[in-house]
Amino acid sequence: MSQRVSVLVGTSKGAFILDGDAGRRDWRLRGPLCDGWPVNDISVEPGTGALLAAGSSPWFGPAVWRSDDFGASWTHSSEGLTYGDDGPKVARIWNVTGAHGSVYAGVEPAGLFRSRDGGRTWEHVEGLTNHPTRPEWQPGNGGLCLHSIVPHPDDLDRMWVGASAVGVFETRDGGATWETRNRGVRADFNPEPNPEFGHCVHKVVLAADAGGHLYQQNHCGVYRSLDGGRQWQEITAGLPSEFGFVMAAHPRDPLTAWTIPLTTPDQGRLMPDAAAAVWRTHDGGDTWVRSGDGLPQDGAYLGVLREAMAVDRLDSVGVYFGTSTGQLYGSGDEGRTWSLLADHLPPIWSVEAAVVD
C-alpha cells in the first residue's frame, strides 16, 4: 500500500495532524498548529492538497488558515469575511470546504462565504442570507451556525448546506437562490409539527452515488433522502438514541454510513450506558449494527461533536472519530474494530482524513 492517511484534528486549542504509516497502525502526532487557535474544522482543498483550517481566536477573531506544505507553515486571512459594517459580526467559522474551484466557509451567525483564490479573499454568498426565512432563523444550543457544506460532486451549480437550528437548503444555480430541504424531518421542539424551516440539523453528508442521496443526523432522528433532500425518510429505528451529532458516508457504497448515537441533551449528550460505540448501516439505514470492539465499554462518558467523524477512501475504508474529551479513535476495517490513535488531546471539534499518495 503506497497511500498513507493523515488524520487532521481540530481542537479547542489548535490543530493537530496524525501521520499514519502505510498500514494505518502507527501514528505520529504533530501540533498544536495554527498558533493554538480554536479550530472548528480542517479540510483538504481538492486539486492542490492544501490544508484549510477554520480558526476562530477569542482575541483576534475568525480567519481561514491555509498550508501549502501539509501543515509545516501556515498563512491566514479573513479579508472580506464579513457581513459588512452594518451587519452582524462574524463570530466563528464552523466549516471550510473546497469545491467547484472555490473554497467555502460556513460561519456563525449562519451564512456562507466563498473564496475564489484559495482563501486569501472572501465574498458573501448573499443568496442564502437573502432567503425570505432568514429574519426568523433562531440559534440552537451551539449557536446559529452554518456547519454543513455539501457540494455536488459533478454539478458545479449544486450544493446543500445545513445550519442549526434552521435546516437544510439547496442551491442549483451556484448560490444565487436557495430552497429549503426539510420535508419529512421532525422538529419536535417546534409547535408546528412540519415547519418549512427551523430544524435542528446536526450533520449532512452525501452518499457515493452522486444522485442527491443524502444522510442526515438531526437533533430529532437520523434520515436519508434519495432525491436531494426534497423528501427525507427517517431511519432512526434500530439505533439506541435518536440524538447524535456526526454522520459519515462510505466513499463508494451509497448504502453504507456511520453515526454515533448519544443520549438526549437532558441526559448529557453522551454515548449510551457509558459504553462507546459506533453504529453502521449497510442497507441505507434500514438496519444498524453496533460496534464497540476496541472501544471502552465501561465508564466511558464520551461525547462526539458534529464535525468529529471522518472516513478515508482506501480499499478497506478507515473511519475516525474524536471525542470532546480528547481521545481519537480509528478503524481500518470500516468500523468493525477500533483502536485508540491518540489520547490527551484538547477537546476535539473536528476530524478529517487526508489520503497522501
Binding site: D35, S57, P58, W59, F60, G61, A63, H76, S77, S78, E79, T82, Y83, G84, D85, D86, G87, P88, K89, V90
Partner: protein, 93 residues
C-alpha cells in the same frame, strides 16, 4: 494631516505579531486617531487590521487599546509620539 508629526509608537502583543512573521512588537505608525494608526499598520502589515477590528468597525471585544495609558476607542486622538498599547484581555482557559 500627520506630516511632520512624530509617529506614534505602537506596542503589539506577542500573540499578534506571531501571526505575521517578521513583524516587530514595537512599530511606529502615523495617524491622528487610533483608527488611522491601525490603518497605517495594516498598510504595512496586510491583514493586521482584520485581527484588531471587527465589523462596525470596532476594536475586537477581547482586545484593549490604550493611548498614553488611557483606554481608547477608534476615535480617540493620538498625540504626536504617543505610546499606543494593544493588549489582549485576560480571558479564556
Amino acid at each position: 494631516m500627520t506630516d511632520g508629526r512624530p509617529p506614534a509608537v505602537v506596542h503589539l502583543p506577542r500573540s499578534l505579531v506571531s501571526l505575521f512573521p517578521g513583524t516587530e512588537r514595537r512599530m511606529e505608525a502615523r495617524g491622528v486617531t487610533v483608527a488611522e494608526v491601525i490603518a497605517d499598520l495594516d498598510a504595512r502589515v496586510p491583514g493586521l487590521g482584520n485581527r484588531l477590528l471587527d465589523a462596525g468597525p470596532s476594536i475586537r471585544t477581547h482586545l484593549n487599546v490604550f493611548v498614553a495609558g488611557e483606554r481608547a476607542t477608534l476615535r480617540t486622538p493620538v498625540p504626536p509620539g504617543a505610546d499606543v498599547h494593544v493588549i489582549p484581555a485576560v480571558s479564556g482557559g
